[in-house]
């Protein structure tokens, strides 16, 4: 049993953290009781805006001694309940730890605190001619959150995911000890890679208080191309052909007209083209415009031969804004189009993405549920949304269970995984268990026990 935070605990915490950064009981805003998606709700007993590693260390030591549960939270933009304090206790919010500490141009790294926002980091490094490739749609997420879920994003096709850009981490263990994992080194073959274990662990093993991230030189040119198709089938069937073409693509995004229309309504801005049922959005980047032109000519010819109506250039800041802003708003737009939604971000082998998207339409028909989807077609990761659309709770529960069962079952059959980038959190635990089985879950539980013997860190999550 965990201990509930009482006045004595707050008095102790106030001895080393200024009172204006501690919120207890009713002072804790309801915003901290849920994540971006909602559905999983619980309030922490106390919310603390931390400033540095030392404070986190002292809080953790105390929490372990007293058996108080602790949940770390950044912007709270997650979708699976990972940043919700299910068991109450202390919520450590990293939003004030938002400093970029060092840009090391000799080692091509940037060192940041966990509360730095993705957009803040991207703007900072790009102004200096560098590039941080991971590009999840939610730009207001924190880097700490991105690392904790191993976020992927639009550019994973060419550049990989967050894990590929984390060189080192400073973490606070549940008992308050501070450890540095990895470093600025480009290679590391020195024992078990604990840093990689922490990445994607959703705050269940330790708390990240600093991260050293790998940068690359910023590609000089980037051009996107929007390809309309008359039918959804034609659009998604192009994806395996694009992959087989060996073209060097940075992004391959799939979007349907109904999702684009939702984004138009949500943003109050028209998309540049809404004449066709489905679209594929591609990005090419590099240091030579000539090379990019050769590349997009080859790809556009291939697509047009295989059913694309045309290839529209998205090449200036204004055009990129009009298309990519809509793409970035899809989640919020679908959310605004219904009274409640649930989500699933399965990842399947790239070769099966077309079949899988078709399957989601079959499920929608079978279960009689609106299931819009969009996603990273180029890396097999799809974002699928189940929309309640005013139906009663009982029917909604039944239909979502049925739909999720079918969707996860098919992903498993295709050799896919439960989550591509959103994580497991609380909402997807049972599907993870089904996916990986008892033995793997048991291994994960043993690892958790080594890090967190009292089980105080983000209890009831992931495993």
């Amino acid at each position: 049993m965990f201990k509930k935070v009482n006045q004595q605990d707050i008095d102790y915490l106030s001895s080393f953290i200024s009172k204006d950064r501690i919120f207890a009981g009713d002072e804790v805003s309801n915003d901290f009781a849920h994540d971006e998606l909602g559905g999983v709700e619980a309030k922490p007993d106390v919310l603390i805006n931390v400033l540095n590693t030392e404070e986190v260390s002292k809080i953790m030591k105390y929490a372990t001694d007293k058996k108080i549960p602790v949940v770390a939270r950044g912007s709270g933009t997650d979708l699976v309940g990972a940043a919700v304090a299910l068991k109450g206790g202390i919520m450590i919010c990293t939003k004030l730890m938002n400093h970029i500490l060092e840009l090391d141009e000799e080692n091509l790294t940037v060192t940041v605190e966990p509360g730095v926002l993705l957009m803040q980091l991207q703007n900072y490094v790009e102004e200096k001619g560098f590039f941080y490739p991971p590009d999840p749609g939610e730009k207001t997420a924190t880097i700490g959150g991105n690392i904790s879920t191993n976020a992927g994003g639009m550019r994973a096709v060419k550049y990989g995911v967050t894990r590929d850009y984390v060189r080192g981490l400073t973490v606070v263990l549940p008992d308050g000890r501070v450890e540095k994992l990895g470093g600025k080194v480009a290679k590391n073959s020195s024992g078990y890679d604990l840093k990689d274990l922490v990445i994607g662990s959703e705050g269940t093993l330790c708390i990240i208080t600093e991260a050293i991230l790998k940068l690359i030189p910023k590609p000089e040119y980037s051009v996107s191309m929007l390809l309309p198709f008359e039918t959804m089938e034609k659009a998604i069937e192009i994806v395996p052909k694009l992959i087989c073409s060996k073209a060097s693509l940075t992004a391959i995004e799939y979007m349907s007209l109904d999702t684009i229309m939702s984004a138009e309504d949500f943003l109050g801005k028209k998309f540049p083209d809404t004449n066709y049922e489905a679209y594929i959005l591609l990005t090419f980047d590099g240091n030579s415009m000539k090379q990019i032109e050769e590349e997009y000519t080859k790809v556009a010819d291939l697509c047009i031969k295989n059913g694309a109506i045309d290839g529209y250039f998205v090449d200036t800041d204004e055009r990129k804004k009009s298309v990519w802003n809509a793409r970035g708003a899809f989640l919020e737009a679908i959310k605004a189009s219904t009274d409640l939604m649930d989500e699933c971000d399965v990842v399947v082998p790239k070769s099966r993405i077309a079949d899988y998207i078709k399957f989601t339409h079959e499920v929608a028909k079978k279960v009689e549920l609106r299931i819009p989807s969009f996603g990273h077609a180029g890396d097999g990761n799809l974002h699928i949304y189940l929309c309640k659309d005013g139906m009663d709770e009982k029917t909604w529960d039944k239909k979502t269970r049925q739909a999720f069962f079918l969707l996860y079952e098919k992903a498993r059959e295709f050799g896919g995984m439960v989550s591509g980038e959103h994580g497991i959190g609380y909402a997807k635990k049972e599907y993870l268990l089904k996916q990986v089985g008892d033995r793997q879950i048991d291994l994960m539980r043993q690892i958790k026990k080594v890090f967190d013997p009292e089980g105080i860190l983000n209890p009831d999550k992931v495993i």
Partner: protein, 261 residues
């Protein structure tokens, strides 16, 4: 209906630098694009062509590199373009630019409607459209945010900051459009593949082609403007509404009181 759209090549970056000593734009030339406001003008022209038929031609004044934005306009759907290019036209201010554009448009021949963007992102004067209409002796309306129809006259909605005007303007005329008017279409790869360098679709007008051969009307020689200082505009300008009496007289009075005239 024959429509002419004025377009300009501007620096590709939104971070435009100004030389503090000369007060002129620093153009690195590495990346350039069509003035974003002109895209709305072109989109409106293409929509009107879709509805009423006719042709859409773009016209641009600038160096040879401006051919790129004319080609881009053709990839978006324009039927052809004209580049006004001559060393004698260089260094032009608003007056000389609009005069040169008017001379160029006269050489194209018949037009029913001229559309411009409300301003450019490098000059920001928002005056060329109106001055061009004056040189051509045709009516014009600025800040147009909607066009309902365009047959013999254009039914428009104009957004004048604190007032919205619904009106008609007889063709031939010129309208300057605001960015709220539409979402510009994207250039087409298919059209790029078909038209390539658009050689037969673009004509070039030089000093030799214009009717008025008085060099003091063009370029630096035809530009009375002297730039003293470039600064951020004051966003909190005072507004006065005149709705009664002789509007011209009232306006004159205010301008005189404020020592503008």
């Amino acid at each position: 209906m024959n429509i002419v759209v004025c377009i300009k090549q501007v620096p590709g970056s939104t971070n435009v630098n100004i030389d503090p000593e000369t007060g002129t734009l620093i153009r690195d030339g590495s990346m350039a694009k069509m003035n974003p406001y002109d895209l709305y003008a072109l989109e409106l022209a293409l929509q009107l062509k879709d509805e009423y038929g006719g042709t859409v031609k773009v016209i641009s004044m600038g160096p040879n590199s401006a051919l790129e934005v004319i080609k881009e306009a053709i990839y978006m759907g324009a039927d052809g373009g004209v580049l006004i290019s001559d060393r004698k036209f260089g260094g032009a201010d608003v007056l000389a630019t609009s005069y040169t554009l008017a001379s160029g448009i006269r050489t194209i021949g018949d037009y029913d409607l001229i559309i411009t963007g409300k301003q450019t992102t490098d000059g920001d004067t928002a005056q060329v459209g109106s001055e061009l209409a004056e040189h051509l002796g045709i009516p014009h309306v600025a800040y147009v945010r909607n066009v309902d129809s365009a047959q013999e006259r254009v039914k428009y909605v104009s957004n004048l900051d604190n007032k919205v005007v619904n009106g008609y303007i007889s063709m031939p005329c010129l309208i300057c459009v605001d960015s709220e008017i539409n979402t510009p279409r994207l250039p087409s790869f298919k059209r790029k593949s078909v038209y390539g360098d658009c050689k037969d679709m673009i004509s070039i007008i030089t000093f030799d082609d214009v009717e008025d051969k008085d060099e003091t009307h063009y370029g630096l020689k035809g530009s009375p403007t002297q730039v003293e200082k470039i600064f951020e505009p004051d966003g909190k300008a005072e507004k006065k509404m005149i709705s009664e009496g002789d509007l011209a007289q009232e306006t004159y009075k205010i301008l005189k009181n404020e020592k503008f005239v």
